[in-house]
């Protein structure tokens, strides 16, 4: 794999110039998802459990958008980062499961 000595730049490598367009789309999408979540809660009318599942799903989608686009996690070389964020999320979920199902008074 990589050598141990300092590995200076490879000026010959061409990188696709990243356009800010994708990032602006992500921003607008995030705003829309946020407004949608707020609206569903403020204007109510729907079944309570449905609202809960819906807003949490919206949050997960928004989080993924920010993770993959703004944090560049969908680009090359991000396997370990994604494994650890994903692994952390799984453990966080087990913690939440413990709080919801296996805690009582």
């Amino acid at each position: 794999m990589s050598s141990n000595s300092h590995d200076t730049s490879t000026p010959g490598k061409r990188h696709k110039q990243e356009s800010p367009a994708n990032h602006y789309y992500s921003y607008i999408l995030s705003i829309l998802l946020t407004i949608l979540a707020f609206a569903v809660v403020i204007y109510g009318g729907l079944d309570r459990s449905f609202i809960l599942v819906f807003i949490v799903s919206l949050a997960i989608v928004q989080a993924l958008v920010q993770l993959l686009f703004w944090m560049h996690a969908k680009e090359r070389g991000h396997l370990f980062p994604l494994m650890f964020i994903g692994g952390g999320a799984i453990i966080a979920l087990t913690g939440v499961a413990a709080a919801v199902y296996w805690t009582w008074w």
């Binding site: 794999m1 990589s2 050598s3 141990n4 650890f84 453990i91 413990a98 008074w105």
Partner: protein, 616 residues
């Protein structure tokens, strides 16, 4: 090539206080961990002395609770974890052909933070009493706090463990990045030695498990010090929550403890059977599976809290499932030994003794995994017997094996095999004498954490034998100390490869030179050194030309940062928040200095490399 800045080199004590060299940090971890092992050992002897006969009053009541709490906490967090980090530091960079870890400064910081936490917790003995709520610190016992300063011990537990835990977390991140980014050319993941693999998985577990105890300790601290209501039932708090948070950390923690031990056994058994490890791929897969499943079983510590049969069953099955990859490993070690040219050096004595002992501990674990049965075993000496079999019979035996195996590489001398064998037999026989009877004491109803027992209940013989056994373990430990002292005075130098071994750390001189590898080696297969040996070569082929070697600069900042948090800890414990502010301020200023003043390091030039036989 002229240096454009002055090279800061220290000697003597300052060298050790400012070092960022993983080899020295490894030795610091072994020294500190060894010291706390002795402290925990003394606590154990005192416990066993009190339990030698029924109705004794040597150490009773709260004193006894302090002894059991500190024995457990010290042994797990300040002895076993640091000793493991000691070997990881000493060995992993060498096994992957690297010159240091990814973050040498952070490596030093991790050590000093652990040390600060360990010292802080142990000052409690002199400051009104040690923590006494068990190493598991269950609420609401652990939330008892008052303004008069009684029940103060648990504050030391909270802050000491928190500070040490931060050190462990950053250490875990360090080893992960090192192994991901800094392997020598040709060393793919499936060509890494097993000790490096287990270090890798352990580090991943540390990164994902330690935040849970961080949160648990923060919540306990907020309840105790700031009047929070996390665990105060009267204000809506919940104590089962503490158990969940603690064990979501605590169960992976015990796999964090044992996996490196498994790694050491794999190295030692293969080397001293003169055979490659049987079933390498399945070993890797099994270790990864153990790491993952370790996070899915924590409720087996809570079977009796009343969660009901569904929850209990799910976790019972998950717990039993872990026995499967563990069994794969056991068989692989046995198949490695089978048909090999076995040499029973002290290291291999400890390694082969580990195998049946750990299996015994593992099988009682499967017994405990049955919830209905666990209602009988829970909180009895049966559990105590189980975990000592896996921790002492598991991790401690493998740490002793590792010590004898890697001592020449770390110090350039050899520990006495004769004294080693005496140590082994005293410790091994003493161990079984101490803990085997405890299974039966538990089955006969003796509860845990009790400071005495009545006569005429059938508990006398077991306790008596158990205490004698503890004495034998103590003698074994003393023999080890004598061995270490004798070796330091004798100066018998060790060759680069005293065991005719298989992995990269044995290709460089003993002790390892400051820069590890003159030239980064080219790895052509699993058991990189053995592959070269089998082709008649004496050395590794280098992967780069000789050049000047960049070394990181030493720094006093890690020590100062740890002292800052130590001071902050005292501020919080004694409710003097100005002191806390000052302590945290010191730490933050050091972080600022580290960020602003870039470390350019220094260089070792090819002319300075003392060894002969340099390849161009």
């Amino acid at each position: 090539m002229a240096h454009s800045h002055t090279v800061k080199r220290y000697s003597g004590l300052m060298d050790w206080l400012t070092t960022v060299d993983h080899k020295k940090i490894g030795i610091l971890y072994l020294l500190a961990g060894g010291f706390f092992f002795l402290v925990g050992g003394v606590e154990a002897i005192l416990i066993r002395l009190q339990l030698l006969y029924p109705d004794q009053s040597l150490f009773v009541g709260d004193t006894f609770n302090q002894l059991t709490t500190m024995h457990g906490t010290t042994m797990i967090f300040f002895a076993a974890m640091p000793l493991i980090f000691g070997f990881m530091n000493a060995v992993v960079p060498l096994q992957i052909g690297a010159r240091d870890v990814a973050f040498p400064f952070v490596n030093a910081l991790g050590f000093w933070l652990f040390f600060a936490g360990g010292v802080l917790m142990n000052t409690s003995w002199f400051l009104g009493g040690a923590p006494d709520a068990g190493w598991t610190g269950y609420a609401p016992l652990s939330t008892i706090a008052d303004n008069a300063g009684n029940f103060h011990g648990t504050d030391f537990y909270v802050l000491g463990l928190q500070i040490a835990g931060i050190g462990t977390l950053i250490g875990g991140i360090n080893f992960l990045v090192t192994i991901i980014n800094m392997r020598a050319p040709g060393m793919t993941y499936m060509r890494m030695p097993m000790f490096t693999w287990t270090a890798f998985i352990t580090s991943a577990m540390i990164v994902l498990a330690f935040p849970a105890i961080t949160v648990a300790l923060v919540e306990l601290m907020f309840d105790r010090i700031f009047g929070g209501a996390f665990f105060d039932a009267a204000r809506g708090g919940n104590n089962v929550l503490w158990e969940h948070l603690f064990w979501i950390f605590g169960h992976p923690e015990v796999y964090i403890l044992i996996l490196p031990g498994f790694g050491i056994i794999s190295e030692v058994v293969a080397t001293f059977s003169k055979k490659r490890l049987f079933g390498y791929s399945s070993m890797v897969f099994a270790s990864v599976l153990i790491g993952f499943l370790g996070f899915m079983v924590w409720i087996h510590h809570m079977f009796t809290t009343g969660m009901g049969p569904v929850a209990n069953s799910i976790f019972a099955i998950a717990t039993m499932a872990i026995a499967v990859p563990t069994g794969v490993k056991i068989f692989n070690w046995l198949f490695t030994l089978w048909g090999g040219q076995i040499r029973f050096t002290t290291a291999n004595l400890f390694a082969t003794a580990f195998i049946p002992t750990f299996v015994m501990g593992g099988t009682t674990g499967v017994m405990l995994a049955v919830p209905a049965a666990d209602f009988q075993y829970h909180d009895t000496y049966f559990v105590v017997a189980h975990f000592h079999y896996v921790i002492v019979g598991g991790i401690v035996l493998s740490l002793f094996a590792g010590l004898f195996y890697w001592w020449p590489k770390m110090f350039g001398t050899m520990l006495s095999e004769k004294l080693g064998k005496w140590q082994f037999w005293f410790f091994f026989i003493g161990f079984h004498m101490t803990f085997f009877p405890q299974h039966f004491l538990g089955l006969m109803g003796m509860p845990r954490r009790v400071f005495t027992y009545l006569p005429g209940q059938g508990l006398e013989e077991g306790n008596f034998i158990s205490t004698i056994g503890a004495g034998l373990m103590g003698i074994g430990t003393i023999i080890l100390l004598i061995n270490i002292i004798a070796t330091s005075t004798k100066k018998v130098t060790a060759p680069a490869d005293p065991w005719d071994a298989r992995t990269l750390e044995w290709t460089i001189p003993s002790p390892a030179p400051e820069y590890n590898f003159k030239q980064t080696p080219l790895v052509r297969g699993l058991d990189a050194l053995w592959k070269e040996k089998m082709e008649g070569k004496k050395e590794m082929t280098p992967a780069e030309p000789l050049g000047s070697i960049h070394m990181p600069s030493p720094s006093i900042l890690p020590l100062v940062m740890s002292v800052g948090l130590f001071i902050a800890g005292f501020g919080f414990m004694y409710r003097h928040y100005l002191i806390s502010g000052i302590g945290i301020g010191i730490t933050l200023i050091c972080m600022f200095l580290r960020s602003v003043y870039d470390d350019h390091g220094w260089h070792i030039e090819p002319e300075e490399l003392k060894d002969k036989g340099v390849k161009a």
